[in-house]
């Protein structure tokens, strides 16, 4: 058995909501000791749920991200039972300390002295205001690697702009190019966004590159990770098209500028859909063969990509007539058997049962002290010699205080009781 790649690396994790925790999830999965630094006196919104103790009125709204507690019940310690936290918190540790007080800051100093990486996704300057600027941290631990993940970076007009991922995406161009073609009011822009999904791996890459450089040279550094800039490359072709052809790309629905057909098609049963994407004329010919060369498909204006792009609505209607007679999986399997690109649109329930994810061991059953037993979605990549494992269930608030304070930081039992009395150490929000 080989050690996991990041075994022996300790990460002090000040991150909240999605982007930062997603990054530290990957570090934890592949062996780092990630210690979440939390406070009993401050509840960061949209992290361990939206509020420490949701009122019946809030639960009654039914908003799906708000009420996602195990058994849909907040329970005695709601902060340990919310899906938006528990989905990423496996393999991490949780300690509590109030860093706004001097003795709390001293705890953090002792922790950072024993750590390799410090990461936060606060707004710009928050770490500095808390007395945790890079210059301070570097005095405590000269080769520390520090990453801050403000949305827009540490300079520029938007430096202090407060925004969730989706708002940053608006400024970065992502929002303008998605949506239904006919939705001029932009009322139906999907709420699921790309920034957090992009920031996780981007931040891990930047941290591991710095860690690699430290392995080579012994030198740490400071990383300014502007989440907006990390994802701008993902729209690269749009920025080049804007320059090269002054093209203004608006929402395309599910269409594509260079492929047709390229859409989602209704299948047998309510809420059942299949995607079909044909990349070139050869694939179109294979699609015709898969459909047994129906008369509509033999029309000359469908022969070339340019023709199909021009007559896309007609094409979509013809294909929909075929897909409506099949389930998404039947349609996709039939088309894939003819080397035509297609796949079912999977709901969460469908994906949970998906035979491919199951065959590859994507889900891992775990029992969590406060949330019960569930199949946790797993790892983002497979490593042949150092496979990741669910070493620990999602961390409860303050669950690892005795390890961190006692074993790691060497506080005496008396000191620990004192810090408990002062409200630093505990497992319940004040």
């Amino acid at each position: 058995m080989f050690p996991l790649p990041l075994e022996g690396i300790r990460v002090v994790d000040f991150t909240n909501v999605y982007a930062g925790p997603y990054a530290t999830m990957m570090l934890a999965d592949y062996g780092a000791e990630v210690i979440r630094v939390e406070s009993l006196h401050y509840f960061p919104s949209a992290t361990r749920g939206y509020t420490p103790r949701p009122s019946p009125a809030l639960m009654a709204t039914g908003a799906r991200v708000v009420v996602a507690y195990a058994d849909r019940t907040p329970g005695a310690r709601p902060w340990n039972r919310h899906a938006m936290f528990n989905c990423h918190a496996r393999n991490k540790l949780s300690m509590t300390v109030d860093i706004r007080r001097p003795e709390g800051l001293d705890v953090v100093r002792r922790l950072i002295e024993r750590s390799d990486i410090v990461v936060d996704n606060f707004s710009a300057d928050v770490m500095q205001r808390m007395g945790l600027s890079y210059d301070v941290l570097r005095r405590w631990k000269p080769d520390i690697i520090v990453m801050t993940m403000p949305a827009f970076g540490l300079s520029g007009p938007y430096k202090t702009t407060q925004a969730f991922g989706i708002g940053v995406e608006g400024l970065c161009g992502f929002t303008a190019v998605r949506g239904y073609e006919d939705d001029v009011e932009r009322q139906h822009v999907p709420a699921v966004v790309h920034m957090d999904a992009a920031s996780g791996p981007g931040a891990v890459l930047a941290l591991l590159a710095a860690l690699y450089y430290r392995e080579r040279t012994g030198q740490g550094q400071f990383i300014e990770f502007a989440q907006a800039e990390n994802m701008l490359p993902h729209l690269g072709e749009f920025f080049l098209d804007a320059q090269m052809n002054q093209r203004h790309t608006g929402p395309l629905g599910n269409h594509h500028p260079r492929m047709a057909p390229h859409n989602v098609y209704p299948c047998r049963g309510a809420g059942q859909w299949v995607t079909i994407a044909v990349s070139d004329d050869a694939e179109w010919q294979r699609l015709c063969a898969a459909l047994d060369h129906p008369a509509w498909a033999m029309q000359e204006h469908f022969l070339t990509t340019a023709g199909r792009l021009h007559h896309q609505d007609e094409l979509d209607a013809c294909l929909a007539a075929w897909t409506r007679q099949r389930t998404p999986m039947e349609a996709a399997q039939h088309l894939q058997a003819h080397y035509v690109t297609s796949g079912p649109v999977l709901s969460a329930a469908d994906a949970y049962e998906d035979p491919h994810l199951r065959a590859r061991g994507f889900f891992h059953r775990m029992t969590h002290a406060d949330a019960g037993t569930h199949d946790y979605p797993g790892f983002l990549w497979h490593m042949s010699h150092t496979p990741a494992a669910m070493r620990r269930p999602p961390c409860c608030l303050g669950e690892h205080n005795s390890y961190v304070y006692g074993e790691l930081l060497g506080y005496t039992p008396e000191e620990i009781i004192h810090l408990q009395t002062l409200g630093h150490i505990g497992d319940t929000y004040v």
């Binding site: 050690p3 996991l4 999605y18 982007a19 999830m25 919104s45 799906r64 991200v65 708000v66 009420v67 507690y69 849909r72 300079s155 520029g156 938007y158 202090t160 925004a163 969730f164 989706i166 400024l171 929002t175 190019v177 239904y180 139906h188 999907p190 999904a197 791996p201 981007g202 891990v204 890459l205 591991l208 590159a209 710095a210 690699y212 450089y213 550094q221 907006a228 800039e229 990390n230 701008l232 080049l240 098209d241 804007a242 320059q243 090269m244 599910n254 594509h256 989602v264 859909w273 035509v340 796949g343 079912p344 969460a348 994906a351 949970y352 994507f362 569930h374 983002l380 042949s384 010699h385």
Partner: protein, 406 residues
């Protein structure tokens, strides 16, 4: 020039299209030396994808290729020929990393999959990126961005109530998968550096979606926690609070208000009287959906009186998430990105000068650098083969005649 974090790493890049090239571009931007192996007959098919200047296709002018292949060297090598494969194996012996994104059976049929490479270089980190991974029932399925988002991502719940599911901007799943592959590759490199473990990494784009924080990772767990299996549907508003895209005087803005930020919203609107208004005064009143319409009437009227810039400025003042909705062209000229130099001008010998998105992160000691534009097809073939394999003129001539290199 400052040092770069990965400037002692040699990457053999067997990737094409988007996900693989984005992975190796990231490694190259952090300083790795990336040698892109291209097929002699036309190279990376991405060279044939637009956008092109004035929409005129040209293999050295694809905007997508120019963007995805900065900082790389291009070597042509016909891997279908025995000598091409021999040369590749000799390069593998010198490399730290191989990244590939062929369909899973291709390298096996060429005798170049991991079990063949490992004996050549036990210290190697090999990253394979594929649509569905190297195993499993969908292994050989074809996929595009749309397929992956529909199957792995949260497309099913994206869109309006009663309408078809809606995709995001195209190709995002491929970029996301490429970024995950770069992170994965670096865990492998650190495992090699710290514990002397060479290994193979299997990245399934389907799983990079199914395990993605926003939002399938969450919804797969929320489904088990609550039994909810939502379909496309407009986000349920939380009481009266505005959260979404809203038309204003001269465009669109994105405003997101959560419960604790009600006072900030009132301050942004400069309507202190709302704090005493019985329809909005208590949290219970603000959670009452019946009060939403009266509030939105006030809110919409206010939006129509203000421009994008004014709204963003006011939102910033009160620390409420409020941002403008930019088109890609507006992003290029946005004062913030201009001031920070988020885009960098790159001059390419054939395609000309274009502004490309710059560094994904800013590291104080080892900053990312744009050292060279995307390569011309095969521009580095001779130099690389001489440098690493010490081939002489006669051998290179023979390889060219036999179509092994261009």
């Amino acid at each position: 020039m400052p040092p770069q974090a990965l400037d002692d790493l040699l990457v053999l890049d067997l990737t094409h299209y988007i996900a693989g090239p984005y992975c190796t571009k990231l490694l190259a931007d952090y300083g790795a030396r990336v040698i892109k192996i291209e097929r002699p007959d036309g190279g990376d098919p991405c060279r044939r994808l637009g956008p092109f200047p004035d929409d005129i296709p040209h293999p050295e002018r694809s905007g997508l290729f120019l963007h995805l292949n900065t900082n790389k060297e291009s070597v042509t090598l016909n891997l279908k020929s025995f000598r091409g494969r021999q040369l590749l194996l000799r390069l593998v012996a010198k490399a730290h990393i191989v990244v590939e994104n062929f369909h899973p059976r291709v390298l096996f049929s060429l005798g170049l999959d991991y079990p063949f490479l490992r004996p050549v270089n036990t210290r190697l980190i090999m990253t394979s990126i594929s649509n569905f991974g190297q195993t499993g029932p969908y292994r050989d399925w074809r996929a595009q961005d749309l397929t992956l988002y529909g199957m792995g991502g949260e497309m099913y719940t994206s869109g309006a109530t009663g309408r078809e599911p809606l995709k995001q901007a195209h190709n995002l799943t491929l970029y996301q998968g490429g970024a995950v592959a770069a992170a994965a590759t670096m865990t492998g490199v650190l495992g090699m550096r710290r514990h002397q473990v060479g290994q193979h990494i299997d990245v399934s784009l389907f799983e990079t979606q199914a395990g993605s924080i926003d939002r399938r990772l969450t919804s797969l767990l929320a489904y088990q926690y609550t039994g909810d299996n939502p379909g496309p549907g407009d986000a349920l508003p939380v009481g009266i609070l505005p959260s979404g895209i809203f038309a204003c005087k001269d465009g669109y803005v994105d405003i997101r208000c959560t419960m604790p930020w009600w006072p900030r919203l009132v301050a942004m609107l400069d309507m202190p009287e709302l704090l005493d208004d019985p329809r909005f005064r208590t949290e219970e009143a603000r959670l009452n959906a019946e009060n939403r319409a009266p509030f939105l009437r006030l809110f919409y009227a206010w939006l129509q009186r203000h421009t994008r810039d004014e709204i963003v400025r006011k939102a910033q003042q009160v620390r409420l998430p409020g941002t403008a909705v930019n088109t890609p062209a507006q992003v290029l000229n946005d004062a913030h990105f201009v001031e920070r130099g988020a885009f960098v001008s790159v001059t390419h010998p054939v395609a000309g000068t274009w502004r490309l998105p710059g560094a994904p992160a800013r590291s104080s000691v080892t900053p990312c650098q744009l050292r060279r534009p995307a390569p011309l097809l095969g521009q580095d073939t001779e130099r690389v083969l001489r440098e690493f394999l010490h081939l002489d003129d006669a051998t290179l001539r023979e390889l060219r005649q036999d179509g092994v290199i261009l």
